[in-house]
């Protein structure tokens, strides 16, 4: 599993952001190291401390670094010069909080560094869509020509597919060798990738909505069976 490093000017901000993200990391979350705050515990960043955090977080599968702003970015770029395996480090352009959440969930699902980085790169889109400023970004093209198996089910969770059940859905979908997609039939939505937490949260599926989950690929039947059970079980929230 890849590791994550949270770089912020503020230790308190980074610790709280990591706590928020790890709430959605499930039983087996990725390693997340914090490098935050200045040399005297004030606001600031330290490239050497960031490099040490990257080395600690790297179990061999690479590290994605999430940063807040300004010197956090400059210090993270500088830190890459000092780490043991610079080729295994990626700096994410994602917004700090959204990126961390997306990174924890997709990393916990077993995605590799490139896949987690790609998911985080669109982490800002979900909020834009939710606010009705959708520019179509993040909604990936549907269908590969291969016939997809699918099922329809009604979401019973009181808050719909909010963060926690959405995270469970994405982690489950990511475990299978299958291209899982989901559409909100009541809202008439497009199909979105079942591996994208932010796209799924942006879908905003409400309680009582009927969704269609489809999948292609070698493990599509198994993925669909488990996802169907999850939805019908209310993701264990009842």
């Amino acid at each position: 599993m890849i590791g994550l490093v949270a770089v912020s000017h503020s230790r308190a901000l980074a610790d709280a952001a990591v706590e928020l993200a790890l709430q959605m990391g499930g039983e087996n979350p990725p390693t997340v190291r914090v490098a935050a705050g200045g040399p005297d515990g004030d606001l600031g960043t330290d490239a050497v401390a960031i490099a040490a955090a990257i080395d600690e977080a790297d179990s061999g599968d690479g590290v994605l670094v999430l940063m807040d702003l300004g010197s956090a970015i400059l210090s993270a770029e500088t830190a890459v010069e000092f780490v043991a395996e610079p080729d295994r480090v990626r700096l994410s352009p994602a917004p700090f909080i959204e990126g961390l959440v997306a990174a924890v969930v997709t990393a916990a699902g077993g995605a590799d560094l490139a896949a987690v980085a790609a998911e985080c790169a669109t982490a800002g889109d979900a909020k834009r869509r939710q606010l009705g400023e959708d520019d179509g970004a993040g909604v990936s093209a549907s269908g590969t020509g291969e016939a997809a198996a699918s099922f329809e089910a009604v979401v019973t969770n009181p808050s719909g597919l909010h963060a926690r059940p959405a995270a469970t859905f994405v982690k489950t979908a990511s475990r299978y060798d299958a291209d899982v997609r989901i559409a909100d039939l009541d809202a008439g939505s497009e199909e979105i990738s079942g591996r994208s937490l932010l796209a799924l949260m942006a879908l905003g599926v409400r309680q009582g909505s009927r969704v269609r989950v489809s999948a292609t690929g070698p493990e599509a039947p198994a993925a669909l069976a488990e996802l169907r059970a999850l939805i019908e079980d209310g993701f264990g929230e009842r």
């Binding site: 040399p39 005297d40 004030d42 330290d46 490239a47 050497v48 400059l74 210090s75 500088t78």
Partner: protein
Amino acid sequence: MSGTVSTDDLVAWIRAFRDAVHQHKDELTRLDSEIGDADHGSNMTRGLDAVVAKLDPAPANAADLFKTVGMTLVSSVGGASGPLYGTFFLRMGPALSSGDVDATALGTALRAGVEGVVARGKAELGDKTMIDALSPALDAWDAAVAEGADAAGAARAAADAAARGRDATEPLVARKGRASYLGERSAGHLDPGATSATLLLEALRDTLADAA
């Protein structure tokens, strides 16, 4: 003078830069409070104090000196000037790894340092950053050397050009760093980074003048 710059001279330069930043700490912080986050003076003094604490005993050669200076700055400044000044010195070191340091070699090293800052900060001339002082200073250095100046003479020309570059940042609208959030409101203030970068070159000028 011999025309070469000794490691002792370079150590003296770093100490003089520390002293100059201490002397101008309140001014740097005031400038930064107008268009930034008001920590440039305190961050730079903290970083340079940490640097000077590591210069006794003095590093054996210029490459070791600048590696120590750079690594200490990236770790102990705290703000954006840490990775920027740190990268400047980290890039200077390898450019001075062999032989005597004369005006040409020092100019080459300074250019490597400034190119490192540009690569790190992605700033261009006119963005209201330290580059606005450093870039014209380098051009002045090279022009002086081409006319036969020694290191002390080149440093004099570079410091003058840096000060002019610094002064020219006043009407500019910032396009990098915290100040860029202010947009038009950043105009009418000197850039703190260009101001401290000018101190860096003035410290070199004064050090090499004393060494002559």
